[in-house]
Structures are given as structure tokens and as C-alpha cells.
């Protein structure tokens, strides 16, 4: 095996994937950076050049900042709920002694394999005025007439949590499953209660998995626009909705490009911070 051949080999292996990503992702993204300095004229055509107008609008207008902060807030709440709802099942499956761990895990992840639009819209059939929940409540006489539950921030978060929970469970499960059982036994034999063992040993060791799941949930939540469109009320727009509106409804591609870049940079920064604190490798480990 010649030295030069060995040095080139990883690049040969990487080249198809890198070429795909470079050609279909990097170059197009550079393209929209250029685009963000163009202008949209009144007829809808574009004016090439170097104009800062879009950037002035994006940075100067509190509207975009507020929606961005709102988006980050919704993404954070979603992530928090995913963690709260996802940790316990992952823990129970990982710690249980049943032979069917994989099956249990697979079952929890199953809804993940079902059409996103249909799944999102099915919440209307559950929470709507003539949905399942209201039918039951009215039928049992708990409420005199249907309760209005849909089309607010809570339903948007609900839809997002349902969509993203599997990502969290998967990540937490993997890190819990990798914990050496001898550690837990040792902790117990030293006289720690199960709660203490959990707090002192299990939880710290599972934190990387929790963080990886959290990152995925956060980033994916911050980039959605269909969930708020279907389950939100008039005010529940997220930043990706603004991108969608600028690009599709207003045909203002330069502005849409600028907004895209903002979202990209903000999410990129979140990833960078995460990379510093935990390392991206953890995400990779969690998919095992």
C-alpha cells in the first residue's frame, strides 16, 4: 500500500458525497448570499447590484427581530417538552429487563414514519369543535358545549412536540443504553438510593444524549412553517413562514434570501455553541 495512495483514499471515498453537497448546497447558498444584495423592483423583476436595502430592513425593523425571538422561544419550549416527555420513556426502555427493547423503541418511533401533513392535520380531528376530545367531553357532560382548543400557540407546540419527540427519545435512549450497568450497581452498593444514583450517575452520563436530541429538536422546530400554518392562529407565524411569504407570496427573492441567511446564521450559531460544549460527534453516536 503506497503512502500517496493511502493519503488520497479518504478523499476518493468522500468525493461523491462532498461533490453532491458542494454542488447542491454550498454553491446554492453562496448564490442566495449574492441575491440578498439585489433589489426587487415594483413589477417584480430584480435589480442586480450591491444594495443594502434588504439588510437594512431586516436589521432595522423590530418586526423581524420579534418574530425571530418568538421562533426561538417556541423552539425552546418545544425542546423542553420533548426532553420532559422523551426522557422517561427512554429511561424506562433502557433500564427495563425485557428482551423486546428494540421493539418497544421501534413502537414509540412508529408515528415518525407516517405522513407529516396527515399527522399534523389529524390534530384538527382530535381537538376541533367536533373532534374526538370535545365529543367525549360533551358526551360525558363535563362541558356543556365544545371548548375551543385549536389554533393557538399551544397547539403549534403540541404539533411540533409530536413531530420531534422520536428524535429526542432515540438520542437519550442511546446514551442511557451505553451506560455501564456496573457503575449503577457500584453506586447502589455504596449505599446511594435509586434517586441519588440517578442524580449522581445516570443523569450526568445521559446528558450528552439529551443535548444531542435537544439540538435536533431545536433546529428542526425553528425551521418549520407547515405546523404553524395548519395548527396556528393568525399570530402564530414563525420565521420560516416569513421566508416562505417573502419568497412565495411576495415574490421578493432578494428579501427572502436575506431572511434565509439570518435564519441560517442564527441556527448555525446555535450549532457552533453546541459543538463547543458537547461536540457534534454525539449526534452521530446517537444514531447507532
Amino acid at each position: 500500500m503506497g503512502e500517496t495512495g493511502a493519503a488520497a483514499r479518504p478523499w476518493i471515498l468522500l468525493s461523491p458525497a462532498l461533490a453532491t453537497v458542494a454542488f447542491l448546497l454550498v454553491v446554492p447558498v453562496l448564490f442566495i448570499i449574492v441575491y440578498s444584495f439585489w433589489l426587487r423592483t415594483a413589477t417584480g423583476a430584480e435589480l442586480p447590484g450591491f444594495h443594502l436595502d434588504n439588510w437594512q430592513l431586516v436589521f432595522g425593523d423590530p418586526f423581524y427581530r420579534d418574530i425571530l425571538l418568538g421562533t426561538l422561544r417556541i423552539a425552546a419550549i418545544t425542546t423542553l417538552f420533548c426532553a420532559l416527555l422523551g426522557y422517561v420513556p427512554a429511561y424506562v426502555i433502557a433500564m427495563s429487563t425485557t428482551r423486546h427493547k428494540t421493539l418497544l423503541l421501534l413502537l414509540l418511533i412508529l408515528p415518525f414514519w407516517i405522513s407529516y401533513i396527515i399527522r399534523t392535520m389529524s390534530w384538527i380531528n382530535i381537538l376541533g369543535s367536533s373532534g374526538a376530545l370535545n365529543t367525549v367531553l360533551v358526551g360525558l357532560g363535563i362541558v356543556p358545549e365544545p371548548v375551543q382548543m385549536l389554533y393557538n400557540e399551544a397547539t403549534v407546540i403540541l404539533g411540533l412536540v409530536h413531530f420531534l419527540l422520536p428524535f429526542m427519545v432515540l438520542n437519550v435512549y442511546v446514551s442511557l443504553d451505553a451506560i455501564d450497568r456496573n457503575l449503577l450497581d457500584a453506586s447502589r452498593s455504596l449505599g446511594a438510593s435509586s434517586l441519588q444514583t440517578f442524580r449522581e450517575v445516570t443523569l450526568p452520563l445521559s446528558l450528552p444524549g439529551l443535548a444531542a436530541g435537544g439540538l435536533l429538536c431545536f433546529v428542526l422546530a425553528a425551521g418549520t412553517y407547515i405546523t404553524p400554518l395548519v395548527l396556528g392562529g393568525p399570530r402564530q407565524a414563525m420565521f420560516a413562514n416569513l421566508v416562505f411569504e417573502a419568497v412565495i407570496t411576495q415574490l421578493n427573492w432578494p428579501l427572502g434570501s436575506a431572511l434565509s441567511i439570518v435564519l441560517l446564521v442564527v441556527l448555525g450559531a446555535v450549532v457552533m455553541v453546541y459543538n463547543r460544549l458537547v461536540g457534534l460527534g454525539q449526534i452521530a453516536r446517537s444514531f447507532g
Binding site: R40, A42, T43, G44, A45, F63, I67, I124, G128, S129, S130, G131, Q148, L150, Y151, L229, G233, P234, R235, A237, L242, E245, V247, I248, T249, Q250, L251, N252
Partner: protein, 381 residues
């Protein structure tokens, strides 16, 4: 021209009921569907002198089935040109795709009225139809053609195809016809129905109704601030701004909302299903028309011939019955079916004088600012 004659004979037999629809389909037996799946990269069909196919984009569903059966298949049979049909989720999404495409990649589209026609003209995407190739154009209501001619200097880049209104739909269990008539457009800013009001998320419709609610002419708004205030008032009372016909219908049918703007055809469909929903075009209510548009760079003769097929009375009537919007055919020249005559917004006189349309020049001049401001007003600003 032998093919043409054969087709006409066939069509004639079909009209006289000698051939059933299914048999007609079988006779024609063209399958264009397989064409689209593998388009092949770097293919440029439109620049060819005799195209192998033309591309039509529409709303899908029943409309597309009606077109396929009554217009596309006979057309392919006659000319040998396949019709590839695609669907779009909305006019905005489609125009975005067209703009990002090569000239000639898209050919014909079922677009909404004057406003979009003018937008395409602004983007220099209009073509020029040779009307001699479309004899059926003579049956089309002149008023609908005139607005298009006004934009493109007397020529046409599209044929009008159907029309409808965006009026107010209301649940008659909760709102009486009298109350509705009395309040008109202002019922949508009536605080008594807070949380039970819906609306279309389209900024043009919102501004049009905002103008009506602030007692102004939507095509000549003097006090824009009053319109924005009306929109804000509406926004604070609205449960949900819907974005599709499906959403509109389910919100009303499941009594999530009691009153909303609505598309005449969709409300008619609800009524046909037995829901007690009323429909009113308030004074100054909004009319619109849809057209079959031919984009610049398309093979013109092939498209013109297809347009002529699509304007055949039975095609237009079948489409109208499918989507519940009256065809653009002049009732004085063409015998329309009873079902068509019973459709909401149908004008037996064929003059459409009772309807108000967007003044394209006025709205396009304000589009950029209004669309952007609306986007933030909707979100609470």
C-alpha cells in the same frame, strides 16, 4: 386535416350520445401520463418547432380530470402532442416556480384573474395569442376578455375560463339572513362573533374587505390607515385565516367558525352536502375570473389549438360542474346546463355588470408595499 375530421366526427357522435364518455376515452386511448415521469435532464422541448408535448398546470382534482377526459385526450389524439399536466397548491407558489424556470418549460396554466395576468405581464411572461386559431373564443363573454386586452395592448395572452365571487358565508343556525344582509361586510369585524370568524389569508382579499369595512371603494382607497385598522380589528376577532378550500369547508362544516369570506364554488359544494350555510355577496363584494394563460416561450400554435379544445362548450361545462364555478361562455351564445345556471355568482345576462373586479393597475402599483405591510399586520403589528 384528416385527423381533424375524424376527431370532429367522433366528437359529433359523442355529442349525440352515440358514444359514451368511457368508450370515447377508450377510442382515444392516448396515455400521456407515462411521458412525464422520466423527463430526462437537459431536455428542452418547447424550443422545438413541432413540440412533442405541452405542459398544463392547474388545480388538480376534479378539474384536472375533466380537462384530461374532455380536452387533453381528444387533443392528443388529433395532434399527436401529449399534454403533461401538473398541479400547483396556489397561484403564488406557481409563479415562483415559473420564475425559476427556463422559458418554455411551463406552457399553459389555469390562473386566477386580472391581478395575476397583470403580474405575469409585469414580469414579461405574457405571450400573444393568434385569435384566428381559437374560433371558440367568439363564445366567451366579451367583458371578461376586455380587462385582459386592456393590460396587454388589445391582444390576449390568455382566454377567460370561469368566474366566481369571494362573498361571505355564514352558518344559518347562528346568523340569520336578515342579520347578514343588515351587517354586510362589517359582520366580519363584529365583536359579538369573536373567535367564530374566519377569513382567507390572502392579503388582497383582506385589504378589499378592509376597504368595504371602512366604507371605501376598494379600487380607490383614500384612507389606507382606516383599512389597516379594519384589518387589525378583524385579525383580533378571527379564529383562523384559512389557506385552502379544504380548510374553508371543514372550518364551516364543523362549526369551528360561523362566518367567513368564502369562494362561491366551495360554499355551493358545502350546501350540496346538506350543510345549512348561507352565502351573500355584500355590496361591493369581490368578483374574480380565472383564465387559461399561455406563457411566453411556449409553442404558440399548439397551445392555441389546445385552448380551442378547452373552450369547447362541453369541456367548459364539464369543468364548471366539477368545480362549481360558472364558465366564461356567454349564455346568449351557448346553451348552458341547468346545473351551471344554478351555480352561485352565475350571471344569466353575460355582462357581469353586477360584479366588482380588482383594478389590476391600481393593485399592482401598491402590491409591493401592501403585501409586506399586511404580513406584519397579520402578526399583530
Amino acid at each position: 386535416m384528416d385527423n381533424t375530421r375524424r376527431y370532429e366526427r367522433l366528437l359529433d357522435r359523442y355529442r349525440h350520445g352515440d358514444v359514451s364518455r368511457r368508450a370515447m376515452l377508450g377510442l382515444i386511448g392516448a396515455s400521456a401520463a407515462a411521458y412525464g415521469v422520466m423527463g430526462g435532464p437537459f431536455r428542452n422541448f418547447a424550443r422545438a418547432a413541432t413540440p412533442e408535448q405541452v405542459r398544463f398546470d392547474g388545480w388538480g382534482g376534479v378539474v384536472s380530470e375533466a380537462f384530461r377526459q374532455h380536452a387533453f385526450d381528444p387533443y392528443t389524439k388529433k395532434t399527436g402532442i401529449a399534454v403533461v399536466d401538473g398541479t400547483f397548491g396556489g397561484a403564488d407558489e406557481y409563479i415562483a416556480r415559473v420564475r425559476a424556470s427556463q422559458p418554455g418549460e411551463f406552457n399553459l396554466a389555469h390562473l386566477s384573474g386580472v391581478f395575476d395576468y397583470a403580474r405575469y405581464h409585469g414580469l414579461e411572461l405574457t405571450s400573444e395569442l393568434n385569435e384566428d386559431n381559437i374560433p371558440n373564443l367568439a363564445n366567451v363573454i366579451p367583458a371578461l376578455q376586455d380587462v385582459f386586452r386592456g393590460i396587454t395592448g388589445g391582444k390576449l395572452s390568455a382566454v377567460p375560463y370561469d368566474y366566481g365571487t369571494t362573498g361571505i358565508a355564514y352558518n344559518r343556525k347562528h346568523i340569520s339572513d336578515d342579520e347578514m344582509k343588515e351587517k354586510g361586510a362589517k359582520i366580519l369585524i363584529d365583536a359579538a362573533y369573536k373567535g367564530k370568524i374566519g377569513g382567507w389569508s390572502d392579503w388582497k382579499t383582506r385589504i378589499w374587505y378592509g376597504a368595504l369595512q371602512s366604507d371605501q371603494d376598494p379600487n380607490n382607497i383614500g384612507d389606507m390607515d382606516a383599512v389597516w385598522d379594519a384589518i387589525r380589528a378583524n385579525r383580533d376577532l378571527v379564529l383562523k385565516y384559512w389557506g385552502s378550500g379544504a380548510e374553508l369547508m371543514s372550518l364551516l362544516a364543523e362549526e369551528e367558525i360561523y362566518v367567513t369570506e368564502g369562494w362561491s364554488g366551495r360554499i355551493k359544494a358545502l350546501q350540496d352536502q346538506g350543510h345549512d350555510i348561507g352565502y351573500l355577496d355584500p355590496p361591493g363584494g369581490l368578483g374574480w375570473q380565472e383564465c387559461i394563460f399561455v406563457l411566453k416561450g411556449s409553442p404558440m400554435e399548439a397551445c392555441e389549438e389546445l385552448l380551442n379544445f378547452m373552450l369547447e362548450p362541453e369541456v367548459a361545462i364539464a369543468v364548471a360542474e366539477g368545480q362549481n364555478y360558472p364558465p366564461a361562455l356567454d349564455p346568449a351564445k351557448v346553451e348552458l346546463s341547468d346545473k351551471v345556471k344554478a351555480l352561485p355568482a352565475f350571471d344569466p345576462s353575460g355582462t357581469l355588470e353586477g360584479l366588482n373586479f380588482f383594478n389590476a393597475e391600481y393593485w399592482n402599483g401598491n402590491e409591493e408595499e401592501w403585501a409586506r405591510v399586511y404580513s406584519r399586520v397579520e402578526r399583530g403589528y
